[in-house]
Amino acid sequence: MLHSSLLRPVDAAAQAGAGQEAWPERFASLAESAKDARLRAFYAAGTVSQETPLCDVPLMAMDVETTGLDPVKDGIVSIGLVPMSLERIRTSASRHWILKPRVPLAAESVTIHGITDSQVHSAPDLDAVLAEVLATMAGHVLVVHCRDIERQFFNGALRTRIGESIEFPVIDTMELEARLHRRSQRSWWDWALGRQPQRLSIRLADSRRRYNLPRYQPHHALTDALASAELLQAQVAHRYSPETPVRDLWK
């Protein structure tokens, strides 16, 4: 997973999804309008209503590794998915795909995610495993750290391959951290001294440390997905409750 600050301004098209409609209704209408059968099946699986308490929501932590920072030009080299609930992160059912991107691997990205040309060379194109990936995701609310990356890259890859984009609800653990740490009011004392409130880092590793979660080796799609899954459980344990409706967290 790449860091948001490195990313270009958010792609307006990718943001349009949530719209006015609630997610279940949105999925129902997309299931009608989507042209690709795999996409239709994904939407047809539906999603939970926005009042569903978190403890009843089937969740799926996700992370993608990419060839670079540009969602338009760069491609996906790996996808990690870890199914979870508030009670259990089912690492035993994790899935991981190494993919052959349609752009060459840049040397600097290889040093980040560690996936090499030779691994990629024998890997399938996303199109070949799309049915499997979407079937794994179907019916789950996705959990990511920094939603824009997953959404934009996934969307870009799909538009290139099937000429359609994809939308789905996401709980963003980075955004949950930002809610806590980026909206704090300046204290009177800070104001008087002209000080800005201290900005805590909301990067994955830094956020995890605040919840006493262990240090993981970053930039492996499966590890990062697991890291986000654990972070969400920690955030809910400390700041929400199993009864919190999913609408408070997803977007």
Binding site: T91, S94, R95, Y211, N212, P214, Y216, E230, Q233
Partner: protein, 630 residues
């Protein structure tokens, strides 16, 4: 495993498990299987993880954070950090119900391993099963037996040194024949046959050694024709085949002989020579003892302190058992006392009436280390008249006590020293003391009298010490009020629960930075064993010896004797090693240990030892409760 599945594995999980000693010993394939089966869950500090009686579905490994494990009655059982595991007790039950409730002490990430996967591992991998086995005593036994195997040489019995039958010669043989026979057989000693018994049932009339040929025959100007019976040694010092090599060495020292016939069922099965024994014991501790007896002033004796400490460190480095170290240090301490008494008598003249100098406490039990105070007393002849004689004995006691202090044996803070009039009394008074302690016990008086129940005569009429021991053994047995009081005192010092991070955890959950291994470990062990020993009428002084008598008397539940043996040995070993490390680092040794100085293995085994001690104290309390007949 297919290519695709390999790709799905969680590297962080696998790598974490690989780093743990418990999993590190599994074959790689099994390790990958477990890693692939792991699920994960986060628990906020203070939240319950599993509750008593609920269905046991998982085996848990702590990935980060810390948890507390409780007993069913709500008391703390253990605290675990990264790498710790729990839940096995419930999974090993037929009903698979949680036995020990657990809650998160800190924000904690747990790995969950499904019951089926745990059971498969437990059944297929014996080493793994042994490690997670819940019985503290089983685990400690494995540790101790591995240790015993590793220092087999040091604790070898004398029999293992005997590699040939003894070479015999009839008593009518000439010394020339003896010399020829020794040369031919390549031995440095011969046993001389008791002619009355004959060769079928040989008995020893004496022994002749190459030293005898030199000192008694050649230097004495005797002819080659002299019969061996004329120059042989007839006052034989022998050892039993099953004694320790170490004990043979002590015999040689004590009697200044270099050869010992080894006996089994009253028959000689071989002879061991000093050279055979030298390999088994540090030359240094031998040297210290013999040099003590060569010193002619207190100052010279005091100068040996450094040698004493060096010999202690050497024994520890050679992996000697706690019993060997304890015996060697007690022997050294006893030798200091003996030499000081010899010097005192030389200075003050012969004693006006006979006396016996007593060693008490750890020295009497042969469980002395380098950090020790002097506990001693004087038993005087019944004809003792204070007006006439006490000035002498007062001066004698002061001389010895001051001398010991100069040699590194600090004064007893409780005043248990012969310099104290109360502890410098005729035999009949001592007999009255013991009778009163045993027949009219109060917990208060016994608390200070405890130490007198470990006693050993070191000088003078040492048979009086034996007499007192016999009196104690005979009177104490069956005295339920006395035993109940002794038991109550033995429970005043309890072991801690275990360790958590760099702290010692007490049973009530409190933390401390260090633990006194004597006060919280070996001393309560010795106290506990003493009560049982008194109850069964044992006259042994050493805790291991007492334990043997206690087991033989059938007082303990089956298997508990071995557990207590292992526990005492392990705690003593850690205590000894800690003191040796302090000495090697140039620090003043003490009995205090900071948990960060312990290896993970020592922490775990010490915890097992503490649990066994704690349980044994519970049993002691039950067995000797007031009013229960014993």
């Amino acid at each position: 495993m297919s290519e695709l599945q390999m790709q799905d594995e969680q590297l962080e999980v696998l790598q974490f498990l690989t780093r743990q000693a418990l999993f590190g010993q599994l074959p790689e394939e099994a390790l990958r299987r477990v890693a692939a089966a792991v699920d994960v869950r986060y628990f906020k500090a203070g939240s319950p993880v599993i509750a008593f009686g609920e269905q046991a579905e998982w085996w848990f490994v702590v990935r980060s954070g810390a948890v507390e494990v409780f007993r069913r009655d709500g008391t703390l059982y253990n605290r675990l950090t990264e790498g710790g595991h729990f839940g096995e007790a419930g999974l090993l039950l037929k009903k698979k119900k949680v036995r020990f409730p657990v809650s998160a002490l800190e924000d904690t990430l747990l790995y969950l391993i499904p019951e089926a996967e745990f059971t498969a591992l437990f059944d297929a991998h014996e080493g793994f099963a042994d490690q997670v086995e819940t019985e503290d005593s089983t685990r400690l036994r494995q540790v101790m037996s591995r240790r015993e195997e590793s220092n087999q040489l040091m604790s070898a019995s004398i029999e293992s040194l005997v590699n040939r039958e003894p070479v015999w010669l009839p008593s009518t043989a000439k010394v020339l024949e003896a010399a020829q026979c020794m040369t031919e057989a390549g031995v440095s000693s011969l046993l001389i046959l008791d002619d009355a018994r004959g060769e079928d049932d040989p008995a020893i009339a004496g022994i002749i050694t190459d030293r005898d040929l030199r000192t008694r025959v050649l230097a004495g100007g005797l002819s080659h024709d002299t019969p061996v019976s004329q120059v042989m040694t007839t006052q034989l010092v022998t050892v039993e085949h099953n004694q320790l090599v170490f004990e043979a060495m002590l015999q040689m020292l004590r009697h200044n002989v270099h050869h010992l016939p080894v006996m089994r069922h009253q028959k000689a099965v071989g002879v061991i020579a000093l050279s055979d024994v030298v390999h088994y014991e540090s030359r240094n501790s031998l040297f210290v003892v013999s040099s003590i007896f060569r010193q002619s002033s207190v100052e010279e004796l005091a100068a040996l302190t450094a040698d004493v400490r060096a010999s202690f460190v050497r024994m520890v480095n050679e992996d000697a058992s706690s019993r060997m170290v304890g015996t060697a240090m007690a022997l050294i301490g006893r030798s200091f006392k003996q030499q000081l008494l010899a010097l005192a008598e030389a200075k003050l003249g012969p004693p006006p009436v006979p006396y016996c100098f007593l060693a008490l406490g750890s020295m009497a039990r042969n469980e002395q280390l380098v950090v020790t105070d002097q506990d001693n007393a004087l038993v005087l002849d019944n004809r003792f008249d204070p007006a006439l004689h006490d000035a002498y004995f007062k001066e004698l006691a002061a001389f010895v006590s001051d001398g010991l202090a100069q040699c590194g044996y600090t004064y007893c803070s409780g005043g248990i020293m012969a310099t104290n009039t109360q502890w410098r009394q005729p035999l009949k008074v001592w007999e009255r003391y013991f009778s009163e302690w045993i027949e009219q016990p109060t917990a208060g008086t016994l608390l200070s009298a405890n130490i007198f129940f470990d006693l050993d005569g070191v000088w003078g009429k040492i048979e009086w010490a034996e007499k007192l021991r016999a009196l104690i053994a005979q009177k104490a047995k069956g005295q339920s009020r006395f035993l109940a009081s002794m038991a109550r005192n033995a429970l005043l010092r309890t072991p801690p629960l275990g360790f958590f991070k760099d702290f010692v955890v007490e049973a009530d959950g409190r933390h401390s930075k260090a633990i006194n291994l004597k006060r919280r470990g070996t001393a309560p062990m010795a106290d506990l064993i003493r009560v049982h020993a008194l109850a069964v009428g044992s006259q042994a002084q050493n805790s291991f010896e007492r334990l043997k008598d206690v087991v033989a008397a059938g007082v303990l539940p089956p298997g508990r004797g071995q557990d207590l043996h292992d526990t005492l040995e392990f705690i003593s070993t850690v205590r000894i090693r800690n003191q040796a490390n302090d000495l090697a680092a140039g620090l003043e040794p003490d009995n205090s240990i900071e948990p960060d100085k312990l290896s993970a293995f020592e922490r775990k085994s010490l915890r097992d030892a503490f649990l066994i001690l704690s349980e044994a104290q519970g049993y002691l309390k039950f067995r000797y409760q007031p009013g229960r007949s014993v």
